[in-house]
Amino acid sequence: MTNDLIDRYLAAVGRELPPQTRADIVAELRDELMSGAEAREERLGRPLNIAEQEELLVEFGNPLLVAGRYRKVQHLIGPALYPVWWAALRASLVVIGVVYGALVLIGLMGGRLSVDGIMSPLSAAVFMTGAVTLVFAALERFGNPARITRWKPDRLPPAEGKRRSRFDIVTELVFGVLFLLWWVGLLHFRDQGAAFDERLELAPVWDRWHWWIVGYSLVEIGSNVVALARPDRVQLSRWLMIWRSLLGAGILLGVIQASHLLVVSGPSGKAPALLDLGMRLFLGVLILSFVARAATEGWRLYHEETGEAAPRR
């Protein structure tokens, strides 16, 4: 058998091997190939022709794969971490979907973010996929998968009873953060009345309730974080929902009593009164939904605590 073909094959394998073990492995593979070729030549009673030599090398395997089997790391993310990686990736992509959904909604309402450099949804999804995969590949390599996948049975959420889906919680969390950013002035909306020669502003009553609303927003975000991180703490989540709903209803009850909710400047006649009425109706519905939510959670809490079957919607 000509050494040229073997030399070229072994060089291709060697290029993919770590330098410190390359010579040793290549020497061993050379002996294996030569022994195999000699055994075939002995059987045939003549030297191997080119096609037979090529066939021998093809049977030996693709150089990249042959060298790859010597690598200590044979997979990027192993079977122990794979389900955790997949769950983390799905959760990250859901967050991206909700964030961009919210941004599209804000865009339709004429809003804009005051920060530049927001990626396109596709770039964000690709970036997130890469980042999550890199983190898990590093955990696979340097971390302890058994420790990462450790869990506590007592943290499992109850099997029965009506609970909010994780999608609902994430959506409310994202909208809660965007609302807070807008409320404290980090997210700006274009003036919608400008198209009609009007200028819309919140009435002074909102300033009086500014910090109450910041507080409510933080409680809402916190309760959603608790609901996401500790799905087993059903009672705590229900209590938080009741308290924040009552807090929200109380704040809006205070606001709605003001004579003006919006300040509309411009040459229109009935428009300011109509806009103010619309806002008042909107707040009224919001107060009712807060009260209804608190009552529903209270009702469920009562049934759960008395051990009766939880009510279902």
């Binding site: 002996d31 294996e32 395997g61 010597y70």
Partner: protein, 113 residues
């Protein structure tokens, strides 16, 4: 959609994977270099391709179960492997485990209609 033959082949490979190490360790109670080891295994009915054998030998040596040395034989430099003392102890335990498992699985299979 995998065919029945594909499914069987995947399961067969899974079944063989663990037992190949046992066969290699068992065969290396006597000294061999790669090519003769593969031939001895094949003669005993255990086929293993080179791509799987050599990385396995290296891994077992890194784990301290095998010792190796380069020697010239038949005008060529060859790497000879044999079981190390640690390898012998591990093999004895693996054989015990294998025998127990074999008996258990055998009993289960015998009980099936």
């Amino acid at each position: 959609m995998p065919t029945e033959a594909d499914i069987f082949e995947t399961l067969r490979l899974e079944l063989r994977r663990g037992s190949l190490i046992l066969a290699v360790l068992g065969q290396l109670r006597a000294e061999h270099y790669g090519y003769t080891l593969r031939k001895a295994l094949a003669d005993a009915g255990v086929e293993i391709d080179e791509g799987a054998l050599y990385p396995m030998l290296r891994r077992l040596e890194d784990q301290g179960l095998l010792c190796s040395e380069w020697r010239v034989e038949e005008r060529r430099n060859k790497r000879f492997y044999r079981l190390s003392p640690e390898g012998e102890a591990v093999l004895a335990r693996l054989v015990e485990e294998w025998t127990r498992l074999n008996a258990s699985v055998g009993a289960i299979l015998k009980g099936t209609p």
